[in-house]
Assembly symmetry: C2
Homo-oligomer: 238 residues x 2
């Protein structure tokens, strides 16, 4: 008997290139030898969702109504779970979960699974992600969190993220590399790339420290969750 | 007054990595300085669509019912036009157009716009795409079409495409490079990469001949079509 495969919903467009990167990482995370081995996926790339950082800083529209509307579209499309390849948007994760019957994976949970015994964890992300303590509160005090200095945020990280959104990858790579090197010099065991724009420009080896790509971690967690749902549908242990 | 932006529908999953590549190329093809400048996109990655090459060779299920079902999903999602990042699937383009009210772009039309004055055009693609004359019939006799030999198809092209679908990119790159070099030696002005798996492994410069990436051509044509619809919605000349 043919069972329906779970359908993965991607609440994307924040930014659109990060969504394409997530879809590629989702494909690479799947054990497959042919097209038909992959899960069905519906992507809603909704770049008109209001800017998350601007909203957090009180100078822009609340993105929650748009996030909920896209989640509802994914529900109507028959999705069984939702992944959202944007770190900052996870500041609305609780509100999103309250507003949709579908499970919404959390990107910090996905990253937590890769931290292992790391003590000093460097974290790069948007000012909103860092200041809100999105990762630190969710993952907790087992790790010491090191963030870029205010100066490095202003000079390197935020302009680097903006350069990715303008498709200026060489400029973005240089800015983000300087921020990563600066954090690495302070002595960290691992560097979390906690903004989906960052791994589009920064590559492993650009700083002398292991990196965890949050986008890739979320992709792996999404495939693991979909596999679990599939196996449950088949009546085997999840 | 705020006008609704046209929504791009992607009939994807053939294969899933090619769909992610198309989404990235769509983003790069857009003139944008921030997320909100991009078009909304709905991607249906439907990897369970039956194998196109197998169907054409009479050893597999007809993919048309699945293609039509995905097109209908894109219609229900409010899409205004459909792009299909799979060359071989365009053998069902007429039937797809007959079965959906939405315009479906044609990948060969998108490539035609980049051929310029090229006389001798090399074409790499699946055996089904090449034998059916998908490009040659659609674009016509203004160009002389050169295809890989039967031996090169069996040894290099088809195993190269299959290797991409298994995520074995180094093996795929080597196989597809040998096929491209072999075609280039026969004297061609340009090489069309007419299978969406091929540009995932083969890079410009891998053969000493200019290449046209059909996936990228379709992405540019899709953004041009969406821009035209947007301008028409705004009441300006399309």
């Amino acid at each position: 008997m043919m069972h329906r495969l779970p359908r993965i919903g991607i609440l994307g467009g924040m930014g659109p290139l990060a969504t394409a990167d997530f879809l590629a990482k989702l494909t690479h995370a799947t054990a497959a030898t042919r097209d038909q081995d992959h899960f069905p996926v519906t992507v809603e790339s909704a770049p008109q969702i209001p800017d998350r950082v601007a909203a957090l800083e009180g100078r822009g529209e609340d993105p929650l109504p748009a996030l909920l509307a896209v989640a509802q579209r994914l529900g109507r499309a028959g999705c069984d779970l939702i992944a959202m390849p944007c770190n900052t948007a996870h500041l609305w994760h609780d509100a999103l979960c309250a507003g949709t019957p579908l499970p919404v994976l959390h990107i910090a949970d996905a990253v937590a699974g890769h931290l292992g015994g790391a003590c000093r964890v460097g974290l790069m992300g948007t000012s909103a992600t860092l200041r809100s303590g999105l990762y630190q509160r969710r993952i907790g005090n087992a790790h010491e969190w090191l963030l870029p200095t205010d100066d490095d945020m202003t000079r390197y990280v935020m302009p680097g993220v903006a350069a990715v959104k303008r498709n200026q990858m060489a400029e973005a790579a240089e800015l983000l590399r300087l921020a990563a090197i600066s954090l690495a010099r302070r002595g960290i065991d691992v560097l979390v790339l906690g903004c989906t724009e960052i791994p589009l420009a920064l590559r492993p080896g650009d700083a002398s420290v292991p990196m965890i790509d949050a986008t890739d971690a979320l992709a792996r967690a999404t495939i693991a969750a979909a596999t679990c749902l599939r196996d449950r549908n088949h009546g085997r242990a999840g």
